[in-house]
């Protein structure tokens, strides 16, 4: 009897454990799903508020043991007594309710009729839906970690994104420093000021930041303009020196025997050169000039040597100025006004056809476009009235304009330019006439209305369309109108319905008394 009872208890216990284990696993899947969604949402909110970091992402793993524990407790609470398990076992073993009846009554008189081996049924778990939900929750967690990164950084970083402006200004400061227009200390001070502006930028108040940047940019441009002005002054001085050098060469070559003008020119050149170079006259040149100014038997050779040294000096100075101007232009620090000053100084000359030939080594200053057309009308040799135009590649006001100064041709038949993207810099002329200005329509003689012929015509029908006149000569003045077929929308039909045909015939065949 006890053996039968033990068998029942063991079978029920085995099934309970088997069922409970799988039920706990299934419940834990659901709980983990709920955990993932809940904590993912909380993490999302915390990240938005700046209260959580990405390193705290391990929260999802923490849910695994917690879910298992809670699921086990829940299943343990919900699993009932032995009777339910014995019902399953009885059904599985085809016990005919004997196992159940024995358990319920406690009467083991029939325990000998129990199955020799009580089989415990297998457990099948339907985990499709919970697994799918769990996968969804994991995807949600991953999205919580990935998607909010952008918004989270925005929330954590209140500064403006000024990388482009910062890079531009840093480049301008460097260009000014390299061009010798900005002392290193001041360049460092400006650089630090720029960094303070960037660090002090605030998304909530961008106006003050941009105003500070504008002020700094304006300051740099003013400094560049001053530097370019100084450079132009130097170039003016060089021009005068070049003129004096030409005179010196002419005087030395003429060999008139009067050495006084040559000596005077040499002294004047030495004096001017002393001023323009601030006393840093090259030694060879100074010696040649001194020798020329002193006169004597070797003064002619000295003058030629001085002229040669001067030209070499001019070339170096011109190269130096070109480099500085190009550097400033690359840093977008030269505007139109500055460009004109340089052009006036002769450093920018109109391009000719040889400049565009392959292998031409033309030194042209690249000048940033300011949105207007360069009026370089004074061509080198041209006397035409064509305006030399510059059409740069307009890519916005901040974009670097790679326009090339070009001139009109000799005939001055029109502007030539380099086409590019954008609106261009050419002037807009509103009073220009189109190519079809003088075109007129050809007068076409229409046929006469033949109104008189219509007056003599006889109406034989009504139509919504206008009557056509017969222009045939054979008809003469009769000008009879031709019956037009009525349109579909005509108020009269040419078809008499059979139903009324007899009545109509009868009416028209009726003889008047």
């Amino acid at each position: 009897m006890h053996s039968g009872r033990d068998n029942l208890e063991r079978a029920a216990q085995a099934l309970r454990w088997r069922y409970g284990t799988w039920a706990a696993i299934l419940a834990s899947l659901w709980l983990m799903t709920a955990w993932n969604f809940l904590t993912g949402l909380v993490f999302l909110i915390c990240r938005q508020a700046g209260l959580a970091e990405l390193e705290y992402a391990g929260f999802a793993l923490a849910g695994l043991p917690i879910s298992l524990l809670v699921a086990a407790l829940l299943v343990r609470r919900r699993i009932s007594g032995t009777g339910d398990w014995l019902a399953v076992i009885d059904s599985h073993n085809r016990g005919g309710g004997l196992l159940l009846a024995t358990h319920e009554t406690g009467d083991f008189a029939w325990s000998g009729s129990f199955p020799s081996h009580i089989r415990v049924p297998e457990i099948k778990i339907l985990a499709g839906r919970p697994l799918f939900s769990l996968v969804l929750s994991i995807i949600f967690v991953i999205l919580c970690l990935k998607i909010p990164v952008i918004t989270g950084q925005l929330a954590l970083n209140p500064h403006l994104d000024l990388n482009e402006a910062q890079q531009k200004l840093e480049e301008q400061i460097t260009a000014l420093a390299e061009a010798g227009m900005l002392p290193p200390d001041e360049a460092k001070e400006l650089q630090q000021g720029l960094e303070r502006i960037i660090e002090g930028s605030d998304r909530k108040d961008p106006a003050s930041t941009f105003e500070a940047i504008d002020q700094l940019e304006d300051r740099l441009k003013k400094r560049a303009a001053a530097g370019v002005h100084e450079m132009a002054t130097e170039i003016d001085a060089m021009s005068r020196l070049q003129s004096l050098a030409d005179q010196l060469a002419d005087s030395a070559r003429s060999g008139s025997g009067d050495a006084l003008p040559t000596q005077a020119l040499a002294r004047q050149i030495a004096s001017t050169l002393e001023k323009s170079t601030a006393g840093k006259v090259p030694e060879n040149m100074q010696r040649a000039l001194d020798q020329t100014a002193a006169g004597g038997p070797g003064s002619r050779e000295a003058a030629a040597q001085a002229e040669k040294e001067l030209r070499e000096h001019f070339r170096k100075e011109a190269e130096k100025a070109a480099f500085r101007a190009e550097r400033l232009a690359n840093a977008r620090l030269i505007d139109q006004k500055t460009f004109e000053e340089l052009a006036k100084a002769g450093k920018i000359r109109p391009a000719d056809e040889s400049d565009f030939e392959p292998g031409a080594d033309t030194e042209l200053l690249r000048v940033p476009s300011t949105g207007s057309c360069n009026q370089g009308g004074s061509g080198k040799e041209g006397s035409g009235q064509g305006a030399s135009g510059q059409q740069g590649s307009g890519q916005g006001s901040d974009a670097q304009q790679n326009g090339t100064a070009l001139s009109g041709n000799d005939e001055g038949t029109g502007a030539s330019g380099q086409a590019g993207r954008g609106g261009g810099t050419g002037p807009v002329n509103f009073d220009r006439r189109s190519s079809e200005h003088n075109v007129k329509f050809i007068d076409e003689a229409l046929p006469p209305p033949n109104a008189s012929a219509l007056e003599q015509s006889v109406s034989i029908g009504v139509s919504i369309s206008a009557p056509q006149t017969e222009t045939s000569v054979s008809h003469g003045n009769s000008a009879s109108t031709v019956w037009q077929k009525p349109a579909d929308s005509s108020g009269e039909s040419g078809i008499i319905l059979p139903k009324h045909r007899s009545a109509v015939k009868k009416y028209f065949n009726h003889e008047a008394p």
Partner: protein, 347 residues
């Protein structure tokens, strides 16, 4: 024997089971080729239920009932139901009779209903008035006439038959009366082997005389054992779930909601439980099992589940629906955690 906390003694059950099998074996010997029908009819008798047999004429309905009456040593009456049959023709009537003193008095003349087994042949041919006269007799097992209630003999069974063809001039049984039948059994055509055996062994269609019959005491003992068969809680729950699932409002199956007009009544659940006890007795078990319920579920409910017109159009019968239900409702429903199932042989 009737202690609800005690199972019936193996010896008592064994004797009752042996007697029941003897009756069945004799029935199978006398009436050839329908052991399943005999088994269900005898289960109905053991459950003290009324049985409605439906089949064509000549398939052996009357012979079965007659033989059963002989085997159980019970009084047997047969009433051929016709449209002009009146309630008094069944229940009995008071007639004017002269007594020994020469005085005349109204004397109750019992009708054929006062018997143990009443064969109501072609019951659907009687008028509703006559059919209704059977209601009290079948449920209360008593007859009330002129204010006097008279008990019917115990046991009392109505074994009715109806012909599924020639429906013109018939009166289908109302639901209230149908519900009083424990089983509605279809008596189908016999197989060729059965027919061959019948025509070779039965001259003039006369069945052999029973060689065995149960006495009144034996029958009472069988009924007592039936009462002692234990119905476990899980099995009772299974019956309840099955019967409840026939209600279209239960939402158990889409087909039930679509085709069933009215589900089974609580009387149906009682009938299933009682009939399942009979199956357990025949199996020699002191308790009702899930398989016992499955065996009697369709015969006990196929006339209690009323289908709607959609079912008729779809060709759906109540038997088909109940079989679908049996396949859908699990014997044990733990309902602890959704998604975890025990893999049993019948699942």
């Amino acid at each position: 024997m009737n202690d609800p906390k005690k199972l019936i003694a193996p010896h008592d059950l064994e004797q009752a089971s042996r007697q029941a099998h003897q009756v069945l074996a004799e029935l199978d010997r006398i009436l050839i080729g329908r052991p399943a029908l005999h088994r269900l009819v005898f289960i109905g008798i053991l459950s003290k239920g009324h049985i409605l047999l439906e089949g064509l004429p000549g398939v052996g309905k009357t012979a079965l009932i007659k033989t059963l009456g002989q085997l159980l040593s019970l009084q047997f009456s047969r009433v051929q139901f016709t449209p002009d049959l009146m309630p008094g023709d069944i229940l009995g009537a008071h007639i004017l009779q002269q007594n020994s003193t020469g005085q005349r008095e109204m004397v109750f003349q019992p009708g054929p209903v006062f018997t143990n087994i009443l064969l109501a042949d072609e019951i659907n041919r009687a008028s509703p008035k006559t059919q209704s006269a059977m209601l009290e007799a079948m449920q209360e097992k008593s007859v009330t006439l002129l204010g006097t209630t008279r008990r019917l003999p115990d046991p009392f069974f109505v074994l009715a038959s109806q012909n599924p063809i020639e429906l013109e001039g018939t009166y289908p049984l109302p639901e209230a009366q149908l519900d009083r039948f424990l089983f509605k059994l279809e008596v189908g055509a016999a197989s060729s082997e059965t027919l061959r055996e019948i025509i070779t062994s039965r001259r003039h269609g006369e069945p052999p005389v029973p060689e065995f019959s149960l006495g009144a005491a034996d029958l009472a003992s069988l009924f007592a054992v039936m009462n002692a068969i234990y119905l476990p809680g899980a099995v009772a729950d299974y019956i309840a779930r099955l019967v409840h699932a026939t209600d279209p409002a239960s939402g158990s199956l889409p087909q039930i909601g679509e085709f069933v007009h009215y589900g089974a009544s609580p009387r149906a659940a009682i009938a299933v439980a009682e009939a399942a006890r009979g199956v357990a007795l025949l199996a020699g078990r002191p308790s009702v099992g899930f398989a016992d319920v499955r065996e009697v579920f369709v015969p006990a409910l196929n006339h209690r589940v009323l289908l709607n017109y959609k079912a008729r159009f779809a060709g759906m019968t109540s038997g088909n629906l109940l079989n679908i239900l049996l396949k859908s409702i699990r014997e044990t429903d733990l309902e602890f955690t959704d998604g975890v199932r025990t893999v049993t042989e019948n699942s």
